[in-house]
Symmetry: C2
Subunit: 498 residues, 2 copies
């Protein structure tokens, strides 16, 4: 079964207008995320961590009688490398939207460097994900419970937990460095900005903190995906770009659904042609994100540089074949690299259109407007705050606050603001990753730096090192280690002086 597996925080609420600007579909890849998580969890991947639970406060920012309700927040600890007596550092991963085990498995970088730094490793799960459910099974019931799910509460959770942990471990002088990838990277960066008294530095990998409001052009994400494919092969890009019209044409045929079902080798007859479109879309977007230089299994098992591999498939097919069949063949690499699937379940995940964490966040605070330009390989689409707001209101009963993130965390003129404020931050980005366009791509000051790799993808630097890693990746990780070393040296020097 090739399940929908859109784990990473890709929330693109895009509305395709066909004909008389009728809303045909709202596509929320994030809604499928739990299935992958559960799968991963079932696999019981061995990770070198002990699991703990912290009694966390429900609402840090009000003092209503119910605000002080306690829930249990999961966190993982590995102390095998820690030199506690010498004030060894504490490396904290600021968990993002999902089971924390999964982030621990996919952030081998921290485990790899822990021995060198004699560091304690801590991975903290984000509230309302994994096992950290403030209202148990009712956590996702409605806005009355989900209302407590947002980034500021999560950051405060981390602050309270870290402080308590250091106290319990009698390790007051141990410096804390926070790490995070993707949304977790945004949290790491924001944590350093909001809680500099708790974390001496932040390593934020693939953190699109500028993907809000009008800071980054709305079309940049899909333009970047398209660029990846264009760079691999101009023909490949053109084939995919042309495939949507063929699919649209089939949707008007009487036998269109049957034809598409056959072409896409679906296990069951399709109910909607748009399922096929979403299936393709997701494959291309996620493959661009995880266009890693080595074989990897983050979202799905994939070969090294999977975008190139997809394009090789497209370019290798006979000229006479339809664009849609070529697009299907390419997307199959994403869903079936292991060649184990006999048929595909395109609508398998769509039944569980429940209330899922990231959807909620995207419909409240994490509003990242995205459009498809005429130059992208996707069908052109626009974004309307009004329609978005109406949809969210309909789904959750609350309206988004689309300008709140930039009010709370900034983003506009970030170079000017942080040039003279703040320090000790690494923003790492790989330009293969479409999220990079919303990241910090230039050094801001001597200690707020951008590490950009042309061939890197979504937080590739955070993955465990492998023997096949290219030089640029080895170099990038070395730079990160050297910068963290500098932060720690300064910290210990300051500590001695005081």
């Amino acid at each position: 079964m090739a399940s929908f597996s859109s784990y990473i925080f890709l929330i693109i609420l895009f509305i395709i207008s066909v004909g008389a600007s009728e809303i045909k579909s709202i596509y929320l890849p994030g809604t499928y995320q739990s299935s992958l998580l559960v799968k991963k969890h079932d696999e019981k991947t061995k990770i070198p961590f002990k699991t703990h639970y912290f009694p966390q406060i429900l609402d840090h920012f009000t003092f209503l009688p119910k605000s002080s309700k306690v829930f249990y927040q999961k966190y993982l600890i590995n102390d095998q490398y820690w030199h506690k007596e010498g004030g060894g550092p504490i490396f904290v991963y600021t968990g993002n939207e999902g089971n924390i085990d999964w982030f621990a498995v996919n952030t081998g970088f921290m485990v790899d460097i822990a021995p060198k730094f004699n560091a304690l490793l801590v991975f903290i799960e984000h509230r309302f994900y994994g096992d950290s459910m403030p209202f148990g099974n009712n956590s996702y019931k409605s806005a009355k419970t989900l209302g407590y799910l947002n980034s500021q509460q999560a950051l405060a959770d981390y602050a309270v937990l870290i402080r308590s942990l250091k106290q319990n471990l009698s390790s007051d002088s141990s410096p804390v460095v926070v790490f995070g990838g993707s949304y977790g990277g945004m949290l790491a960066a924001w944590f350093r900005l909001k809680y500099p008294h708790i974390a001496i530095g932040a390593v934020a990998s693939s953190a699109p903190i500028l993907q809000f409001d009008k800071i980054t052009p709305w079309s940049s994400f899909y333009d970047a995906v398209s660029q990846d494919f264009k760079d691999a092969s101009l023909n490949c890009y053109k084939v995919i770009k042309g495939s949507w019209a063929e699919l649209d044409a089939l949707s008007t045929h009487d036998d269109g659904l049957i034809e598409v079902s056959k072409l896409f080798r679906t296990c069951k007859a399709l109910h909607s042609v748009y399922s096929a479109r979403d299936w393709l879309w997701e494959a291309f977007v996620y493959t661009a994100m995880v266009n890693y230089p080595t074989e990897a299994n983050f979202m799905m098992p994939l070969p090294a540089y999977p975008v190139e591999e997809m394009c090789k498939i497209i370019d290798g097919l006979p000229k006479g074949a339809s664009k849609l069949s070529k697009a299907f063949a390419a997307a199959s690499l994403y869903y079936n690299y292991t060649q184990t699937e006999k048929c595909f379940n395109l609508e398998g995940g769509t039944d569980s259109h429940g209330l899922h964490g990231w959807d909620w966040q995207a419909c409240t605070e994490m509003v990242m407007p995205m459009t498809c330009s005429n130059e992208s390989m996707f069908p052109p689409s626009s974004f309307s705050y009004k329609e978005f707001s109406q949809d969210c209101k309909k789904q959750y009963g609350v309206k988004p606050r689309p300008h709140w993130i930039t009010t709370e965390f900034g983003g506009y003129r970030i170079e000017q603001v942080l040039k003279r404020f703040g320090s000790n931050m690494i923003f790492s980005n790989g330009m293969q990753d479409p999220w990079s366009r919303g990241g910090v791509l230039k050094n801001i000051s001597s200690s707020i730096v951008a590490l950009v790799t042309q061939k890197g993808a979504h937080h590739v630097d955070f993955r465990s090192e492998t023997k096949n890693d290219p030089d640029w990746l080895i170099m990038q990780r070395k730079q990160e280690v050297a910068i963290i070393e500098k932060w720690l040296e300064e910290y210990y020097k300051d500590l001695k002086q005081n």
Copy 2:
């Protein structure tokens, strides 16, 4: 009538244990604050501002259906000096616990310097004070409404309001500098730390941001009050220190209450000897705070250097007079400098033991433990988190989070943390002010500086200039102006470059 007038945010929940550690009294000066406010409001002091109301969101940090309720937040504007077209700066006062008009009246410094800077002046009222009541007359009803009153929500209010204001005024490039005194100074400092993308700098006058947890010794506040009196006259200090025992002795007499009522010239017979103690206590504490170098009327009308004047009264009385009668005579200066009172209403304010804003804040987040040491001129007293928590729970139904402020805003090792993080902050303190002991008294970096005056009192630098201002005060204000000028120069330079 000499009303209880404890406007400034003095919340000292001190518990005097007499005999078998029985709790005799909980003294919350803050509870009397509204009366003064109303009085001030009635006076209709002319201020050069226009009043506006901003539709503010109730809860910035949750997305429950009721979080987005709107209330009207008052703010004042003076644009007569503003050079908007040239990107003139916006000076914002981050309102503290009270009617914003009162702060506007008592922060003449901002009005004085506005023409030089071509600045727009904005004074924003703190939620749950003055007219800015989220639930109208029900705002103070219980923890269910008061729960939304805290510093983080207030800071977010300021962020949202300032951003909206700049947008409406089409003055995106105008730099914002925040100012605040006392609790307002804490808010200004924290605002710069949490919202550096909104304010380019902060002038925090008499802001005891280190008066939390164990950062500052708990006895320092009352030791500082005592030092003021000791510096004026050792005899004066000794007389006051000895007066409490005389009062205690009277409390055991059969006719004690009558005697105290007579001695204190009360309008009505006293119900408790402790009313007299609180009355004295308040006079000495507030007089130390407002030990200004010129005649002033911040809390009460008082002569220049009122502590010295009080001590002159004590030292001038016959040796044979009781210590208590001397203490009474000194305290009368505070309540009756204008010589208009025929009798004193010591218990006048105690009836209105309602739910008042600062009491709430002190019982939830603003927990500032204070004790009286044996060396102070006050009766020794201790502080117990447990008892404090029980009292607050009893009064409001919620427990304090005594370590939350230092988790959210820091404070421990502040020099080390801010030495390499943040910029553009002035912490001004006058050492006559007992709150100075919880302030930042040393430069932290080249742009986070402490301006300390030995003869200054509670945010004296923020008062309007007068022809009698001493040189050190003129100099201090000049320094502040020069530093703000530097921030602005840098800002405009950076702006041009980008």
